[in-house]
């Protein structure tokens, strides 16, 4: 919270307008509109099956929308192929971890630098890409350092335990050099102490790489601690949005998500 | 290099792959020749032995088989390979090494022209086929409309059908329908229906034993009453189990007939029957002839200068010359070679199938 307050009137990076996605008769995301401001950490919560992951999928091109628009710094995003979205500067992690399992941790992070590098077939073949390769290698190690996995850089990603795989996913997402980072349940599979560490980590990453962050998370204390603003989805619709404290008090949110005491 | 004793003659035919149906008959014929000719003194008292190398059904295997025979087995000459396409690939190697080759079943145009060392005992299609049509017309002068059917993925059948069609036209017959099939086909209802609906008096089939036999069977089962001519591919008793009783009456163009009256053939047929209880097939006879030509040419060479005094390389060259020069009284009848190595065969035959029961039948010589 502190970081954003010191900034001058933050500009809007993402503008979602009336985003909708149907699956057959089911409306998974229903007419959702919101803005995300530069540098903020924006939380997305809601009951299971509310449409949070689907919203991320729409934003990153993995699922085509039924209707609606989304702009990133004024440019339309919806309808672009996922790799184009990544090239624009939006990157994500997956709720059901999708690492390149048989490749080493290091490779995972190197691959994700694809859009930021340029060597084509021939430059690669004739070895004219050395400087770029060295750069890729260096960044990959830095990112593994960042998530504390550099001493296992050569291990196959699929052999990592659940929690470690989540860390590697974050490193991989950062490797695309995003301006907007979308994290889908980053704390799942971490214990309470680790979740605490995660809060600090996300903030640090945000500051260090100048990011805007969107987080889906079910661990309420973490959301409340971490996020500048929180949006709540229920049955595909936005039912509340605002600062964490007010959202937490919203009776609709309590009823649908938090559960009454 | 000295000549081994017994004198090695190479046989590179298809012992495996789906060409083995032909190749295994060639193996039998060649082995027959080995036993028979050795029993009659071999090469003027020196025995010879056949060295088999599997040429399978593809070009690479044929080349490897040839290569082995030439450099490792030190054969004086080679009978093989089974298919013309293989000959185009493998023969140049023997030619280059100056090793005489006799093709036992390569009938495509251009094989003897591959080189000086390449000859064949198998007559090309163009000379075998026309007789059958002439014979059919003799049997039934009223024939007007003809259906032609051929296996379009078989090189032999494709060139044979060309000859059949030309001959038919030359004889003033109408080609009412031309039907193609594959050697791998089993159901010919489409073709047969077309033939029936074209209402022809003569059906000419170019194919191999299995598909040809099935085609004949289905033609008859579905009610075709006219004459049937089978090409040279059907000149095998392998067809009998396929069309069984329905094979009866099919007229076959033959490059070899068990009824060929020469003494050489009658001895061969007698021994073959004694062992296998049926007539020798064409592929066996041609392989036999191939081996026989080598042995007789070797005898001639040996008479000039004892075999064990030759070097291998020189012998191969002399042998080739001798092969092309000689005349041979084989089960195929009297054969010799022209300067290319093309076989000059005196007799061709037309036979009609007579089935004794569902399994046994014979080719009855029509002349």
């Amino acid at each position: 919270m502190t970081a954003t307050l010191t900034r001058a009137v933050p500009k809007t990076v993402l503008e979602a307008r009336n985003m909708t996605r149907r699956f057959g008769g089911l409306i998974a995301v229903n007419d959702v509109s919101f803005d995300v401001r530069e540098g903020e950490i924006f939380g997305l919560i809601g009951p299971n099956g509310a449409g949070k992951t689907t919203l991320f999928n729409l934003m990153t091109g993995l699922t085509p929308p039924s209707s609606g628009t989304l702009t990133y710094e004024g440019r339309p995003v919806l309808g672009l192929a996922p790799h184009k979205v990544a090239a624009l500067g939006m990157s994500r992690t997956f709720q059901n971890i999708r690492l390149f399992k048989a490749l080493s941790a290091l490779e995972n992070v190197k691959i994700a630098q694809h859009t930021r590098t340029h060597a084509g077939l021939w430059r690669g073949i004739f070895g004219a890409n050395r400087a770029e390769e060295a750069q890729v290698e260096r960044r990959a190690w830095e990112l593994l350092d960042l998530v504390g996995l550099s001493d296992r850089a050569g291990e196959e990603a699929g052999n990592f335990s659940y929690g470690d795989q989540r860390r590697l996913e974050i490193a991989r997402a950062l490797a695309t050099e995003p301006r907007v980072l979308l994290l889908d349940e980053p704390a799942a599979g971490m214990n309470t102490s680790e979740k605490g560490g995660l809060t600090a980590f996300i903030r640090e990453v945000r500051d260090r790489f100048d990011l805007t962050v969107m987080v889906i998370e079910h661990h309420v204390p973490l959301v409340m601690n971490l996020c500048d603003r929180v949006a709540v989805l229920n049955f595909g619709q936005l039912i509340a949005m605002g600062d964490p404290a007010s959202v937490q008090r919203d009776p609709k949110v309590i009823e649908a998500y938090l559960g009454g005491e | 290099q000295k000549i081994e004793n017994p004198v090695p003659i190479g046989v590179a035919v298809a012992q495996t792959s789906n060409t083995a149906l032909l190749g295994q008959e060639q193996v039998i014929g060649a082995k027959f020749a080995e036993k028979f000719l050795n029993a009659r003194g071999g090469i003027n008292g020196t025995p010879f032995k056949l060295v088999f190398q599997d040429a399978a059904g593809d070009e690479n295997s044929a080349i490897n088989a040839f290569q082995n025979l030439i450099t490792k087995e030190n054969v004086v000459g080679i009978v093989g390979p089974t298919l013309s396409q293989q000959a185009f690939a493998a023969d140049p190697i023997a030619d280059r090494a100056k090793v005489p080759v006799l093709g036992p079943s390569n009938t495509a145009k251009g094989v003897p022209q591959i080189g000086n060392y390449i000859a064949r005992v198998s007559a090309p299609v163009a000379v075998v086929a026309p007789n059958a049509i002439r014979t059919a017309l003799r049997l039934d002068p009223k024939i007007k409309k003809v259906a032609v059917l051929y296996a379009q993925n078989d090189a032999f059948s494709v060139s044979e059908t060309g000859t059949f069609q030309d001959t038919a036209k030359a004889q003033g017959l109408t080609l009412s329908t031309v039907q193609k099939f594959q050697t791998t086909d089993t159901d010919f209802t489409t073709q047969v229906t077309a033939v029936l609906n074209a209402d022809v008096d003569l059906a000419i089939v170019s194919g191999l034993a299995a598909d040809g036999g099935n085609l004949v069977k289905q033609l008859r089962q579905l009610g075709y009453k006219g004459l049937i001519i089978g090409g040279n591919g059907l000149n095998t008793s392998n067809m009998f189990p396929v069309c069984q009783k329905l094979c009866d009456g099919v007229i076959i163009a033959q490059a070899y007939s068990p009824s060929q009256p020469s003494a050489a053939n009658q001895v061969f047929v007698k021994e073959y029957r004694a062992q296998y209880k049926k007539d020798p097939p064409q592929f066996a006879a041609q392989a036999y002839a191939g081996v026989q030509v080598f042995v007789e040419a070797l005898r001639a060479v040996d008479r000039k200068k004892k075999l064990n005094t030759w070097s291998l390389d020189d012998l191969r060259v002399a042998l080739n010359k001798q092969i092309l020069a000689g005349k041979y009284n084989t089960p195929l009848g009297l054969i010799s070679f022209d300067k290319d190595g093309e076989v000059v065969q005196k007799d061709f035959y037309v036979a009609q199938i007579k089935m004794k029961d569902a399994k046994t039948g014979s080719f009855v010589f029509l002349k």
Binding site: F94, R98 | N18, D187, T190, A210, Q221, P241
Partner: protein
């Protein structure tokens, strides 16, 4: 197209299509449980025909190690009546099923337990096919074997009727093939579509480890599946063999490839798909006009290519929308 030739082509297409279907079902069963293509299936098809032939005739010709053997000096008990012939067919198919089980034990199971690349199953089953085909040749030679013409007893070989001027002819074997195929399809369709067994089968297919976590005995299911697959393959082999003769050890190869086209066209792992695929390809081939019959083999594959472009999961395959 004239009505008579239309009807004729339809009949031909249905008959050959139903053989494709019943053969392809064997493929599809194995695919649906192990997610692999069993290239030895074509060889099992061949074996089925040889097994039945052995029972019905019991004699081999001039080549191979078994030449001259005569199992039934007094004539085979399975020959001469339609019922006994049917029995021989079933026994032959069962023997083919047993071989398929053996193949699973020797060539697939050890691989599964070693966590090999599933594609390797293609190679291993190719090896098995090579072994079977060449063993057949070694034992009984490459020649064509044929069932006695009275295999079905006194059943007439063909029925014919007229439409207008033109004849339409149906061979009896075609009808038998069609009928047997329908029965097999109905039975399998019921077992797999409607019973708990079918669900369990699909579970094993999707994830053997998860299936075992639910108490499903994966090994037993695989065994049953292979038996069924071999049975169907062997049955198809005998049916085709009685209709057209057993054309040597490579007899099943063409069916092997066509069968693949059939299951992919219909949708991998789908039982109705195998049926639909078989019929579509059979009919397409039958309706190729005679003057283009040279291109008949290409038709099945061209059709396959085009249909896959429109429906990447095959005609009746289910498209799994991946959730991320």
């Amino acid at each position: 197209m004239e009505l008579s030739s239309f009807v004729q082509s339809l009949m031909n297409g249905l008959a050959i299509g139903s053989v494709y279907a019943i053969f392809a079902l064997g493929y599809t069963l194995v695919f649906s449980i192990l997610g692999i293509i069993n290239f030895a299936h074509g060889a099992v098809f061949t074996l089925g025909a040889y097994f039945t032939y052995t029972l019905v005739v019991g004699q081999f010709e001039n080549n191979g190690l078994l030449k001259g053997i005569n199992l039934f000096p007094d004539g085979s008990p399975f020959s001469g009546s339609a019922v006994m012939f049917g029995l021989a067919t079933i026994l032959g198919a069962c023997a083919a099923g047993a071989i398929a089980v053996l193949i699973e034990r020797l060539a697939f199971r050890p691989m599964r337990s070693r966590g090999a690349d599933p594609l390797l199953a293609l190679v291993s089953s190719l090896g098995v096919a090579l072994v079977i085909v060449n063993l057949i040749q070694l034992l009984v030679g490459a020649e064509i074997y044929n069932f006695p013409s009275d295999a079905y007893g006194e059943v007439k070989p063909a029925l014919s009727f007229h439409i207008g001027e033109k004849v339409v002819i149906i061979r009896t074997v075609q009808l038998i093939i069609f009928a047997v195929s329908l029965v097999m399809l109905a039975v399998l369709g019921y077992v797999i579509g409607r019973t708990k067994v079918g669900k369990a089968l699909r579970a094993v297919a999707e994830s053997p480890s998860t299936a075992s976590l639910l108490g499903i005995s994966v090994d037993r299911f695989i065994l049953i599946t292979f038996f069924l697959s071999g049975f169907l393959g062997g049955l198809a082999g005998t049916l085709v063999g009685t209709a057209f003769g057993v054309a040597g050890p490579y007899f099943g190869v063409v069916y092997g490839l066509k069968g693949l086209a059939v299951i992919v066209l219909g949708g991998l792992g789908s039982i109705p798909g195998a049926v639909a695929g078989g019929l579509v390809i059979g009919l397409a081939e039958a309706f190729v006009p005679a003057e283009y019959s040279a291109y008949k083999d290409a038709v099945a594959f061209a059709l396959l290519f085009v249909i896959l472009l429109v429906r990447p999961q095959g005609l009746l395959g289910r498209n799994l929308i991946q959730k991320v």
